[in-house]
Amino acid sequence: MTVSSQVKQTLAALKGAQGILRLYSAQSQDEKAISVYQEALFVTNDVIKNLEERLKTIEFEEPQYKGN
């Protein structure tokens, strides 16, 4: 697998995880649980942004794999 498709897979997995985290942070009854889920959402968001940035650079450098 090319690097860019690997990164895209990780990105997709993290976005899915983000959705579930958001669901749990809304559904939970316990205060501490909600804050833990929200913190996780935050970090996941950051990581996703970084990955998207990196993806742009990778695709720029290897245009033959773009859009895979």
Binding site: A13, L14, A17, I20, Y24, Q27, D30, Y37, V43
Partner: protein
Amino acid sequence: MKEWMIILLRSILLFFVILFFVRIMGKRQIVKMTPFYFVSYSVIAILTALLSVNIIRNLAFGWIALGVWILFPMVLDYISLKSKWLHDVIHGRETILIKDGKIMEENLKQMGMTGEELLRELRGKNIFQLADVEFAMMETTGEINVLLKSDKKPATPYDFGKKVAPQGAPQTVILDGNVMDEPLSNMGLNRGWLKMQLEGMGIALENVFIGQVDASGDLYVDLFDDSIQPPRPKVKEMLYAVMEKSQADLEAYALETKDEKAKIMYGADAEKLQQVLQKLKPYLLR
């Protein structure tokens, strides 16, 4: 009126009167009653039975006696709530039977218990070794409650130093095929959400016997037809697994990439995800 009709009517009347008063008098488990309540309840029962069958010749006397035996316990009960002294007089105090692992023989004698009876009660609580007991107390109900020595107590997550998320109370939202709206709204959910969950599991509402929602909002159902297996929600474990894999991927990328800036970025993100995973662990994997 015929005799049997009188008895029928009186019995029905007494039935509802007693039902009403017993509800007012409050709940006390039959097993865990102090002698005072036991006697009161018994007398009320006997009087009611006698009245019901018309054995008590003079009706008025019967009702007076019943009235006294119902009202006096209720009044004394109320007063003993306010006054500890009266409570102790009526119900007695708890007695310590074993302290610091040693049996208090004088207290045992006071309670009229032999050593054999004490051992029997302990065995009833699954304690076969006297050596395991730190503290034992006989309550006013005659029941014995035992505190085991710390190393003989069953282990809890606290003892392992493992952090576990507090488990809130679950709400029963479906009982006998009927949706209970109040528990649903206690969790901040409604019938629409329930319908969606059931559709997601591919189960019709009519098939559900009991449905419970736990504190984190997962629905668990028990079906009428026990041969069908409802999909057990493993969302939490999957979420943890996904994040764990992503974190491992990031570490791999950090090693593979030749770009310095990217290496640092991947490394930092992997670290952040790792920390978050640690925090999520007690909540996602119980």
